[in-house]
Amino acid sequence: MRFKTELKNIRTFSRLVAALNTLEKIAWVRLDDDTVRFTVIPDTGSQVWASFSVDTIFDSYHIQSAEASNTINLELPLGPLQRALKSALNSNHASLRLTKRDGIPMLSMTIHTMTKDAPSRRGNNPKTTDPMDRNDDYDDADNDPFSETNNSLYPQESLELTHKREREKVITQDIPVRVLHPDTVETIMQPKVREPDVHILLPPLVQLKGISDRFTKLAITTASASSSSSSSARKEALNPKLEISANMHGSLRLRLVADTLDITSVWDGCLENPELDPAQLTVPIEEHPSTKYREAGPEKWATVRVDGKDWSRVLSVGRLEGSRVIACFTHEHALILYVYVRRADDDDFPGVGAGRDGDGEDVVTYYVTGYSP
């Protein structure tokens, strides 16, 4: 069993891993000749199936396996992978291979990188001098899902000739992995959902996440403030549910209903309902549920209730910049997000086809957990 590759588009890779890591610590990775697939299935909360063309993040890719159709199935912790990729950002060159250390399988990332010359002393990062923060073991600049990935780490410097010449350092990051037997992954299936009632292109996620988080936070604050109510009701109130609705006339509605609150935010008719590709449908377009919803007019909404915190973690996929996100609503049943990731080297941006993963596209699919009203 062999797997060896150079890394490219490390930023995209790193952000994908960061997004997955918000939902679950451990991912199942499936590699074959053409695609690399990351799957996370949390105990509770939304699951993600991300499928990338090998060319998107890998280069000089070699895979060799005795398993059927040359696949390798791995289980790996996302935290360490994310950390390793962080080291690889801004590197000169990075590669990844499957190896063993002390008999334990490892994904070993080899990074060739430079350090930068002395940053100016003060003002760079006042946080580092905060004495009350004793647990500043490692910086947490990645905490904000939408933060720029810690650029402050490498501030720009003027050329200094008196310094000793910087040389390339070789960093090896070994990520523990488990190699999975094909039998163990055979049973894991991508969820099957019936044709969606409404599909809509979501507004910029930073906007949507901002508003959703505000709603959720508001609900939590209100719940914490009210002293009454039983413990189960209280628990419920601390995990507020958001009601998300969309119609086939370009509108998206976000609503929070709590004891004392009822707030709604609407994107009114300004969004796009992409055309479906009839070739990919199982039913004639006229009979498709979305056609019925369109004909029923703008008052016909497909609604799904989601958990505010889980939804926030889902939306952290927004850190994959420039992605197009299509949401597919099945009324009171399911919500699926298809995130079409823009390749750095690709101007011809895909993203049409209304929620079908087409061939060779890089798409991250979220099966958002819904709750009954």
Partner: protein, 406 residues
């Protein structure tokens, strides 16, 4: 009568603050020692495996400095203070660029220590801000002589130095959950390796297989010897120290873009790291982990005393050896604990102090429970719940959540 008084400039206040902040990562209190020509701050961590010493030159670091001995303190004055209370005094109030904040920035700070018979022992710090406000703080102190760890430079045949900035940046590549840093050299490849790892046994998880995935990142950084100055290291020598200590040091080492120099001899013997900036010398002495293979007993310990510090941790360990309060100036080596791998779960801390500590014996200090994550916790003993380090950044935690939202 005023024994000591000195004035710190705005810059001085912040350098002083940073030094204290660095020490705070090792210990709760600091010993201040004043002489005519210098002011020294020292601290020793609770497990006595790390010693920190900052020396401020009287004529270069301070805007004004005056020491006048009295009968009690003829040549030097010393006292022990809580770092936390000092930190809050010297905390810089600048931070942002707004006009209002600028006004509140510290212009200078006058510190005076008045002590003697019939006097209240107090350190008085008067902080003058740009906006005209003057704040006076009066801190009680304990009159307690400082403890200094000794380091025999002749014994330390291995040394290297490198830009502290380069080293600090390299540390950024180490992930969470690791405890030990192994510094080793390879003459063939002409590199120095910095390897971070942990020996913690992970017991959580339903079956052994899953525990594998909970192991932290294993990181190795190879740096060409050509990037170092004065490398003089025995080939293939592995020297192991605590990552936490090393991180704390490098974070502070940002004050200089100059060299950080290290000296060490062999596993189980102390290592010294030092760097200097304008008017300030920073020295750290860290006990290195005794390597099983490298156990040698050069010197017989002749003046062993019973352990002064109650040891946390289970049972009688083979390491109940002197906690090094030895008055002798001779380099001495305590017998090393013999560790066999099957016993590792209850094996003694490998980083017991072997510093020579002079002069007064340290009264036993109760272990601070809130700091069990410090390097004083047993290194090879299972540490209980490690789950937190695996938490995604914006998991359940409401505070985090609020931060993210706001």
């Amino acid at each position: 009568m005023v024994i000591l008084n000195f004035t710190l400039s705005e810059e001085g206040v912040s350098v002083f603050h940073d030094a204290l902040a660095c020490m705070y990562k090792f210990s709760d209190d600091v010993c201040l020692e004043a002489r005519k020509d210098k002011l020294t701050l020292t601290t020793l961590n609770i497990s006595k495996s790390a010693y920190v010493c900052f020396t401020f030159a009287a004529n270069r670091f301070f805007s004004r400095y005056h020491f006048e001995g009295n009968a009690q303190y003829r040549d030097r004055f010393f006292c022990q203070l809580y770092i936390r209370s000092l930190l809050s005094i010297f905390r810089s109030r600048q931070g942002s660029d707004s006009v209002r904040d600028k006004d509140a920035s510290i212009e200078r700070c006058d510190v005076a220590i008045d002590d003697g018979p019939g006097k209240k022992s107090r350190l008085v710090a008067r902080v003058s801000c740009r906006n005209g406000i003057t704040a006076s703080h009066s801190l009680p102190f304990e009159s307690k002589p400082p403890i200094h760890a000794k380091f025999d430079k002749d014994e330390a045949a291995n040394c290297w130095s490198i830009s502290s900035n380069t080293l600090r940046q390299l540390m950024d590549h180490f992930g969470p959950g690791i405890e030990l840093l192994d510094i080793n050299t390879d003459d063939e490849d002409r590199v120095v390796n910095f390897t971070c790892f942990t020996d913690k046994v992970q017991k959580r998880g339903p079956h052994g297989n899953e525990a594998v995935l909970k192991k932290p990142l294993h990181t190795n950084i190879s740096v060409e010897m050509a990037e170092f100055d004065d490398v003089e290291v025995q080939d293939k020598l592995h020297i192991i120290i605590s990552v936490k200590d090393f991180r704390a040091i490098l974070q502070h080492a940002q004050i200089t873009s100059g060299k950080l120099a290290t000296y060490y001899s062999e596993p189980g013997r102390p290592m010294k790291l030092s760097y200097s900036a304008d008017g300030i010398l920073c020295e750290f002495i860290l006990m290195t982990v005794g390597e099983q293979d490298a156990i040698t007993q050069k010197h017989k310990n002749t003046r062993a005393r019973a352990s002064k510090t109650p040891k946390p941790g289970p049972g009688p360990s083979p390491a109940s050896k002197p906690e090094g309060s030895v008055a002798s100036n001779q380099a001495q080596e305590a017998p090393k604990p013999v560790q066999s791998p099957p016993q590792q779960k209850i094996s003694p801390r490998p980083r017991q102090t072997q510093f020579e500590i002079r002069p007064p014996p340290v009264p036993p200090r109760a272990p601070v429970t809130a700091r069990s994550d410090r390097s004083d916790s047993p290194l090879f003993v299972e540490q209980g719940d490690e789950d937190e380090q695996w938490e995604p950044v914006d998991r359940e935690d409401d505070d985090e959540f609020a931060k993210e939202v706001g």
